[in-house]
């Protein structure tokens, strides 16, 4: 079964609360800001929404209805979805399925989170490693960066150029946590975290919210709306990690498998994609995943990056929002925020960070466990 076998699902509205450092703002305020913005953007009233998906990874149990009831409690089904970093992407996927399969005409996806302590359940399995407590995410990716550099000959300074680009993009994004251009020097001379990473090469910890309205053409028509600002979801792929032939490359293989599935479903190739929003929590991930997905040949992402191929205005704009590095990664919202950015770009409404002529976009996220989601959107009209 592919999305093309079912009726089309469209992203018809987008809204965000800026991603920011932890504050006194309640999750309810964060979430409602994004949802109201998305409804207004779509031109739809709240009672039109028939089902809601709430993506969150850090907030405790059941934040959804206590938040959404303030729009007027309409009795719709509300489900929470968690897939670690990929929570928002997973929620989006299931909203798309609900629309495509005809169970609803208008569905809300909202991602919301605030920083708070949370552990991974995996630790409870009591299959301890030699030094699990010594390997935080930034060290996991620092190891990846070391292997990447050895394999490709890329230098520390080269990989850090991802952060230069993404901070530049973030500076043009009013919803980004970091809105300041940074020079390569500033990035390389920042606080050392782990391996080659300095703090500006790593995603910040923060809070925020992002919402999208997913709808059928029929659902929009009933409200007197057309598809002129809609983005059609042409692929949705989800995979989880398995035992690979080459166990040293499990990060890349999971992404490669998922992206291949998405391209196959959409009938597209990487060369057809104008916008990419991917899981760049650490600079090396951008180059690693671009290669894994086929946007650059093996070992060639850095030379292409240096040429400006991945800049806004280049061959394919990668992380035009600023990515996880500059826009941020509040977790629940992140995958949803990627869909919002791609939709904004496809509409030609991205202002100073517009990638001119954008017609297709790809969103990629991974979550610990590990899982991976890839979505492809195309201009509807």
């Amino acid at each position: 079964m592919a999305l093309s076998d079912l009726r089309p699902a469209y992203v018809a509205g987008i809204g965000l609360h800026r991603y920011q450092f932890a504050s006194e703002t309640t999750y309810v305020e964060l979430g409602l800001t994004a949802v109201r913005a998305a409804l207004q953007d779509a031109g739809l009233p709240w009672p039109a929404v028939e089902s809601a998906y709430v993506a969150k990874a850090l907030l405790p149990m059941a934040p959804g209805r206590p938040m959404l009831r303030h729009l007027g409690a309409t009795g719709i089904p509300i489900v929470h979805i968690e897939d670690a970093s990929a929570s928002g992407s997973a929620a989006f996927r299931h909203a798309v399925m609900e629309i495509a399969a005809g169970f609803a005409e208008i569905v809300l996806v909202v991602g919301v989170d605030k920083p708070m302590p949370v552990g991974r359940a995996e630790g409870l399995a009591r299959i301890g490693g030699l030094a699990d407590d010594a390997i935080a995410p930034f060290t996991h990716f620092a190891l990846l960066a070391d292997a990447y550099a050895a394999r490709t000959g890329a230098a520390v300074e080269d990989i850090a150029l991802v952060a230069v680009k993404n901070h530049r993009n973030g500076a043009a994004n009013p919803f980004a946590q970091h809105q300041k251009e940074r020079t390569l020097d500033e990035i390389l001379n920042g606080n050392r975290v782990s391996g080659v990473f300095t703090s500006l090469q790593c995603t910040p910890v923060g809070e925020g919210a992002a919402a999208v309205i997913v709808a059928s053409e029929e659902g929009l028509k009933r409200h007197g709306l057309g598809l002129d600002r809609a983005a059609r979801v042409v692929a949705s792929a989800g995979r989880s990690q398995r035992v690979y032939e080459d166990s040293t490359r499990y990060d890349a293989v999971l992404t490669e498998e998922t992206a291949s599935g998405a391209f196959r479903e959409a009938g597209l190739d990487p060369a057809d994609i104008d916008i990419v929003e991917l899981h760049d929590a650490f600079t090396v991930e951008e180059v690693e995943y671009l290669e894994a997905m086929g946007f650059a040949p093996e070992g060639q992402a850095v030379p292409l990056l240096k040429e400006g191929a991945f800049d806004i205005g280049g061959r394919c704009a990668v992380s035009p929002s600023g990515g996880l590095i500059a826009m941020g990664h509040p977790i629940g919202p992140t995958g949803v925020g990627q869909i919002a950015e791609i939709t904004r770009q496809l509409r030609g409404e991205a202002g100073t960070r517009q990638h001119v002529g954008a017609r297709t976009g790809l969103a990629h996220m991974v979550g610990v466990g590990a899982v991976c989601y890839v979505h492809i959107l195309a201009k509807a009209s």
């Binding site: 299959i127 050895a150 050392r192 391996g195």
Partner: protein
């Protein structure tokens, strides 16, 4: 004090004795499934490759090649003081393991041979013991 006199920090994961192939390096306590998949550490929930519970313990040689290393400058946990170096080693017997490397002046190079050894540490109660770490092959 030798390892024979003192305890191991994680005796479920490694032992002082080596394997036939590498007798002078502490072995890692892994497992092998009937399907051929070799993994670390030993667990009996089921094989990740095939789901079978026909799993046997297997001692893995403390020899392998360095896949990556990272110098950690920031660590939140109370159990360790940064800086320290983490290494990912592909054991000759198959599994990839990640743990600390012994402190070493020389830089580690991806691809180089690594060996296991027991390093003196203290356990959570402050008692001296030994933990398996990796070092460059001399």
């Amino acid at each position: 004090m030798t390892a024979a006199d003192s305890s191991l920090l994680k005796p479920a994961l490694y032992r002082e004795a080596g394997t036939e192939a590498a007798p002078d390096r502490p072995a890692l306590l892994g497992a092998a499934c009937a399907c051929g998949y070799v993994f670390f550490p030993l667990q009996t929930y089921g094989c990740e490759r095939c789901g079978s519970r026909d799993i046997q313990p297997r001692a893995l040689s403390g020899s392998g090649r360095l896949l990556a290393s990272a110098r950690v400058h920031r660590h939140a946990g109370k159990t360790r003081q940064a800086p320290f170096t983490v290494v990912a080693v592909a054991l000759d017997d198959g599994p990839i393991v990640r743990t600390l490397a012994v402190e070493d002046e020389a830089a580690l190079a991806v691809g180089q041979r690594m060996r296991s050894l027991l390093a003196p540490v203290v356990d959570p109660d402050g008692a001296p013991c030994f933990d398996l770490r990796f070092a460059r092959e001399a």
